[in-house]
């Protein structure tokens, strides 16, 4: 039997259809029990966790608390009116000698 392209396309469609309508296997409760029995026989997994892995797993849980702390600190700093340039200017006017000592080493 000789095949031209058209015939082969038709055959392909029929084969794809047959493939997709293949009967799916079913399992019993016994199968499930056998799987679990096999897994239990293997014993518990060797639990080794590095600090980095622990952080990766649990670190994100602290993210909301960290956000709240950051917000509170920001609010506190804004309320205190922390402006380092003004403080430095005030300090250099009031204590010019001490200020020059601080500036020299880059403090």
């Amino acid at each position: 039997m000789r095949f031209d392209k058209k015939n082969y396309t038709q055959l392909e469609s029929a084969l794809i259809k047959a493939y997709r309508e293949k009967e799916k296997p079913q399992v019993s409760e016994q199968w499930e029990m056998n799987v679990m029995q096999h897994i239990r026989s293997l014993g518990a997994l060797p639990f080794k966790t590095s600090p980095f892995e622990l952080f990766e797993q649990f670190g994100w849980r602290f993210a909301p608390a960290a956000c709240v702390v950051i917000a509170l600190l920001t609010f506190w700093m804004v309320k205190l009116d922390v402006t380092p340039e003004d403080e430095m200017a005030k300090f250099s006017i009031d204590h010019p000698i001490e200020a020059s000592y601080i500036e020299m080493p880059g403090l």
Partner: protein, 196 residues
């Protein structure tokens, strides 16, 4: 698509199993056995599917420490299932004895009906479906395990090349190349069967 809740539930179960609560793994077996049987059933002969599905869950348990908590557990399990099917075929190929016979009379009849436009409908009949499956299985078994898997997943199941690449752990380009080659081989095998 698994929901966020499902994913988080699965993550919790995985953590408990890793923590030593082995029996909790039973929830995952119950939850995903249908899905795994469906994946395995597509690639493995019907009478072997149970055994291979069993192996999938055992392998999943043994590899649980490598689970990265990224993406769903279902996806991770599907990858294991597909790779277990590949392993099954590699083992089979090492010990295979495939008869190189041409089509049986019934298969020949099926092909004649299937390739004649007016009778595609006829192929939906139970017997024709069975013959079609037998013919396809005989042809697929002649491909390499990798070609067979790529062809089944993309061409027969209808997955995208990207999805198949994710499950097989290959690049998309590799899947496309294999698919192209295996389709050509399949055609050659089928026409070879029928012309003999």
């Amino acid at each position: 698509m698994p929901t966020h809740t499902t994913i988080v539930e699965d993550y919790d179960i995985v953590r408990r199993v890793i923590g030593g609560d082995i029996n909790t793994f039973g929830f995952l077996v119950k939850k995903y056995q249908g899905h795994i049987l469906s994946v395995v059933g597509n690639h493995i002969p019907y009478n072997q599917a149970e055994e291979v599905a069993h192996d999938v869950f055992v392998k999943a348990y043994q590899s649980l420490l490598t689970f990265k908590y990224k993406g769903g557990f279902k996806q991770w399990l599907s990858v294991i299932a597909v790779r277990t099917c590949c392993d099954y075929w590699r083992k089979e190929y090492r010990s295979r004895e495939i008869p190189m016979s041409s089509c049986s009379e019934e298969e020949q009849k099926f092909v004649e009906r299937a390739s004649a436009k007016q009778s595609i409908q006829a192929t939906s009949q139970e017997n024709s479906q069975k013959k079609a499956r037998e013919l396809l299985d005989r042809a697929l078994v002649k491909l390499s395990p990798e070609d067979k898997m790529a062809l089944e997943m993309v061409y027969l199941e209808g997955l995208s090349a990207k999805e198949a690449a994710g499950l097989l752990g290959w690049s998309v380009a590799n899947v496309k190349i294999r698919l192209f080659r295996s389709r050509k081989k399949l055609r050659k095998i089928l026409t070879g069967f029928l012309e003999n």
